[in-house]
């Protein structure tokens, strides 16, 4: 375990600062994917702007998701007391999934309205939400397996988090499956699950 460092404060701060940078940029880039509408002769600009509602909806949903991941990333990093090279790489992999999100968001905004491609757009978006959940789970499981997590935490609290992160994959898998049957129901799952995430997280509990 020679490549495991105790987590020095300025070390954590730099990892968190970099992660926060990626969160902040990914969240702000979401708007770039909404192009200024070209108005046709028979249309008004108001109508054209209104027609972009799927893009606005996708923007709000992805913005909230990334915002929640940002808040949670910070909470969970306070539980780590050591760090190693592969953990760093798994964090990069997680950030890769976060940074990918503007693309499925743009696809959803573009193709949600037309009936023809709605299923594929929603399924791809749900897959885009599944990716960071997988990335998150993988660095959590790795940190547990390698003993990077604070030992003073109550074991049942650590178990609770593991179960929670595992369960959090289900709605996205479900939404992907559902997108083949009923795209709007799949959208409903994604939105509902995001609303659930807006609730305050359970606080860390330490062994007595």
């Amino acid at each position: 375990m020679s490549d495991t460092d105790h987590l020095h404060t300025n070390e954590t701060q730099r990892i968190e600062a970099f992660s926060d940078g990626v969160f902040a940029i990914a969240i702000t880039l979401l708007i770039i994917e909404i192009g200024v509408p070209r108005v046709t002769e028979s249309e008004s600009l108001s109508d054209a702007l209104g027609d972009l509602w799927p893009s606005y909806g996708a923007y709000v949903l992805s913005f909230v998701m990334i915002g929640i991941y940002w808040a949670n990333h910070h909470s969970v990093f306070r539980l780590f007391i050591r760090i190693d090279h592969f953990f760093l790489m798994l964090n990069v992999f997680f950030l890769m999934c976060i940074a990918f999100l503007p693309f499925p968001t743009a696809v959803l905004g573009e193709y949600l309205k037309g009936a023809e491609h709605r299923d594929a757009a929603v399924g791809f978006y749900a897959f885009g939400l599944l990716l960071p959940a997988l990335g998150w789970l993988s660095f959590w499981l790795y940190a547990n397996a390698r003993g990077l997590v604070d030992e003073r935490l109550a074991p049942e609290y650590v178990r609770f988090l593991t179960v929670q992160f595992l369960l959090s994959l289900i709605p996205y898998v479900l939404a992907i499956a559902m997108s083949f049957l009923n795209a709007w129901a799949a959208v409903g799952i994604c939105v509902g699950f995001t609303l659930l995430y807006l609730l305050p997280p359970r606080r860390p509990r330490y062994s007595p």
Copy 2:
């Protein structure tokens, strides 16, 4: 109130750093929305660059607005001594409104010149300015209702801010309404109100 934390310095710093990241990115992305002009046969590049004046104007106006919000965000955060999960979420909502601004800015730049769509473009832009004002007001009111604000502040100073934030909605609502009647007057309201914001803010007053 078990989910209310005292605001630790490094906690605030991370929220402010993330918010500053979104401010900095949103403000810098504004330029991306101005595309390099394609020059037609009969036109000179100078004319084509000059014809982009509505885009330059919209760029300057939105840049100053986000810059002012950045400065004010910092000032108002010094008044908070506690924080909770929903406050964090309301801050994310506020940032969502800031990050949205490049889109109405691009719409204004594109459609301000032609008479046909000017009204809708200006109205949409004023709406884009109303959104962060609403987001700002909502996290201020929430912070007051939940006792997150420093109790040592003079009550009349807190009241002054509440009234100021409420009143700040009026010009944008007015500009939206005015955009149906006279788009240039609506632009004037937005510009004038921004100039007003350039004045130094009132300093915090504490109870004796």
Copy 3:
């Protein structure tokens, strides 16, 4: 002078962090303006990539310029010991000029090659370099007029900087004028002046 604060360290850090954010984003956005070339039937991708040399050149020049401004911004901020609201606003104005630079850079990359629009493209680019030089000068003059600069600095060092910042406008004004006569000579001025900036700056001198 009730709105003048002594420059607290964490205050400076936040202004510098925000400014650094804008520098970092503007500098990194430069590459976004170079689009992937669409290869026509009769052309090879190598040729198409080679044909983008004006874009590469403009990218390098603007990258170095923003990098130099970043380094200098940091040096000059160490000379300020107080701050006020208008100084903050002038810093925002300066950042607006920096954030604008990707646009003239893209224009230069697009129109440098064709003889027809070269003059206008070069002139506009030189104007794009003049803007941050003007923004820089304005916040320096304001800081001097309002006594925000460290009084312990040797007066001749402060004067040296004022003269240097004033003189730095000349090459850009010259390049704008020259662009009407000989665009390549104007490019030469911009490049030469940037190389000059690569030299180490003079160190602060304090009164004995």
Copy 4:
């Protein structure tokens, strides 16, 4: 050596923060280069999204490369105890190479699939990977020549790094050469070398 400063902690932090900003932005901008596919009549959205696999692959490869550079940049900066103006400029040059990477990544994503332009696209991408390796080597050699590196480091460790950084150019030069013969083999070199980089770096060794 009057322009050589001892590396104050907040000085390093600002250089690292700026570098981290460029890393974070360049890494997050990669996704912007993948455009939402326009679906033609005879095609499904799923097929169109699947057809983008070269873009996904290029995204993952470049993301991991920039992530590794970020981690390594941090490690190597801990070895410097002094800094000077040209070192700062060489760091800017290195960041210029990092910030350039989204462009060859986009070219690779666009042209990897078609046989006609694959060679040029892969060669250009390998060149895009060579550039930051060259930038890295140049600031390392400069730092050694000017005595900016911590003298307490074991000389054989410093030599080991120099050799490692020199050798790291070879695979990219090889990949560029190989791209003329067999583009897929060149891709294989780039991918294989990146996987190698995922291994933990050797830890600094100090003189006894």
